[in-house]
């Protein structure tokens, strides 16, 4: 596992196989928490944190518990369990050790438990048979891509809120259209790097 391979995984998950715009995972927070730049940054930070941790934990559970017992068919439910526990633990830990960080990210943490991007990254890791470092990098890269797109999108929506949009397109409708255009723009990254 060389450094360049890890860098390629990072680049490909952030830009080419972006979780939101190319794999369409985690669309609920993408549409739901992007009305304000401030809350989008909070959500992005919390998700980055949890996705990286969750991909590490799910890798460990998959390799050391599920694989030896040949229980791979229980992955989904086991991963949900792991993610819920990790999120809750992070919330408690953060509340105690860093009240400031907790005040910024705290409200978003419970939301992440049901974020499909987090479960998606765990399942994709096992599907692609990633090693430990690859899994971590994949989770971190995916989270970084999610964070970037969420922040960019919320900045756009803040502009859209004051733009003169035709009445039928006001609100969520123009948000959806913008997200679609953003996905089209990200298709331009396709073929930038190729794995294997």
């Amino acid at each position: 596992m060389s450094f360049s391979e890890l860098a390629i995984i990072l680049l490909s998950t952030v830009l080419v196989n972006n979780f939101v715009l190319a794999q369409f995972l985690g669309l609920c927070p993408f549409m739901g928490v992007s009305n304000k730049l401030e809350s989008a940054i909070g959500m992005a930070g919390a998700t980055t944190f949890v996705m990286t941790l969750a991909s590490i934990c799910t890798y460990l559970v998959d390799t050391w518990v599920l694989a030896p017992l040949e229980l791979q068919y229980l992955r989904t439910i086991a991963f949900i369990l792991v993610i819920a526990a990790v999120v809750q633990f992070v919330k408690m830990f953060m509340e105690k050790t860093s009240p400031l960080l907790y005040r910024v990210l705290g409200v978003f943490l419970p939301l992440i438990t049901v974020n499909c991007a987090v479960l998606g990254v765990a399942l994709l890791n096992t599907q692609k048979a990633h090693s430990f470092f690859e899994s971590t990098m994949y989770g971190f890269g995916g989270a970084l891509g999610f964070a970037m797109v969420l922040v960019l999108f919320s900045a756009m929506r803040e502009r859209l809120a004051v733009a003169d949009v035709p009445v039928p397109f006001k609100g969520a409708a123009i948000g959806m259209i913008t997200a679609g255009l953003m996905a089209l723009a990200f298709m331009g990254f396709g073929g930038l790097v190729s794995l294997q």
Partner: protein, 230 residues
């Protein structure tokens, strides 16, 4: 034993998931004890009842420190902007007898007031700007100051420091923008009051129309026509 578990997929699945759940439960239980935060919800509740003028007339730098002090046993009658209504609400929350307002800290005025700077007399000393807890006074050194009326909570703190006494506290006149329902002071949610206030208005108006048009028969306008025709 271990071989038996490995050969029995249902048993191994149960043990694996059960073990994971028990492990996470134990970790979270440990974390709940280890990382317990000493939150004090009573301070939040008291703070919610205080008027948030941040005027400092109680002797504390703001409403939240006063809420903290009340939680530590300080008297609850030191808040002039809140008046008797706030004292009653606090007494209700803390389950104590409601004292009357301590006049040492100022008097409660029923009329909402805002500061007003007589601008031609202002010398631009910025002393009132420094005194204002709400940042509601606008101005710069040696330039005229003025008050943002919407931000002003009427706390009087700017009146004292003014060297030329050019600040008046003027009552806010009720107009279409500032008028509010005079709701009875209970703990119910305001939405109920609004409904309760609106309901009697409808029959009242119909009565007025009815009496105007003569002897209440206008309520059922079909009837007189029918009688005439008969």
């Amino acid at each position: 034993m271990i071989e038996f578990i490995f050969q029995n997929p249902i048993l191994s699945a149960l043990i694996a998931l059960g073990g994971l759940s028990a492990l996470f439960g134990a970790v979270l239980g440990f974390a709940a004890v280890k990382f317990k935060v000493e939150g004090d919800p009573i301070v939040e509740q008291i703070d919610a009842l205080l008027p948030q003028t941040q005027c400092g007339q109680c002797g504390h730098p703001g409403c939240r420190p006063y809420a903290q002090a009340i939680a530590n046993g300080e008297a609850i009658n030191k808040c002039p902007p809140g008046g008797q209504a706030t004292i009653n609400a606090l007494a209700d929350l803390l389950d104590v007898e409601a004292p009357s307002l301590d006049s040492e800290h100022g008097e409660h005025l029923d009329v909402k007031r805002v500061a007003f700077i007589r601008e031609d007399e202002c010398i631009g000393c910025t002393k009132c700007i420094q005194a204002c807890p709400m940042d509601a006074i606008l101005g710069a050194a040696k330039h005229m100051h003025t008050v943002i009326a919407d931000e002003c909570t009427g706390c009087d703190l700017c009146v004292e420091p003014c060297p030329v006494d050019c600040i008046d506290m003027i009552p806010v006149e009720t107009d279409l923008k500032t008028w509010k329902w005079d709701l009875p002071a209970t703990n119910q949610k305001p939405v109920f009051h609004v409904i309760a206030q609106e309901v009697p208005v409808i029959p009242l108006e119909t009565n007025v129309i009815a009496t105007d048009l003569g002897r209440g028969s206008a309520l059922n306008s079909d009837k007189p026509d029918g009688e005439k025709a008969a």
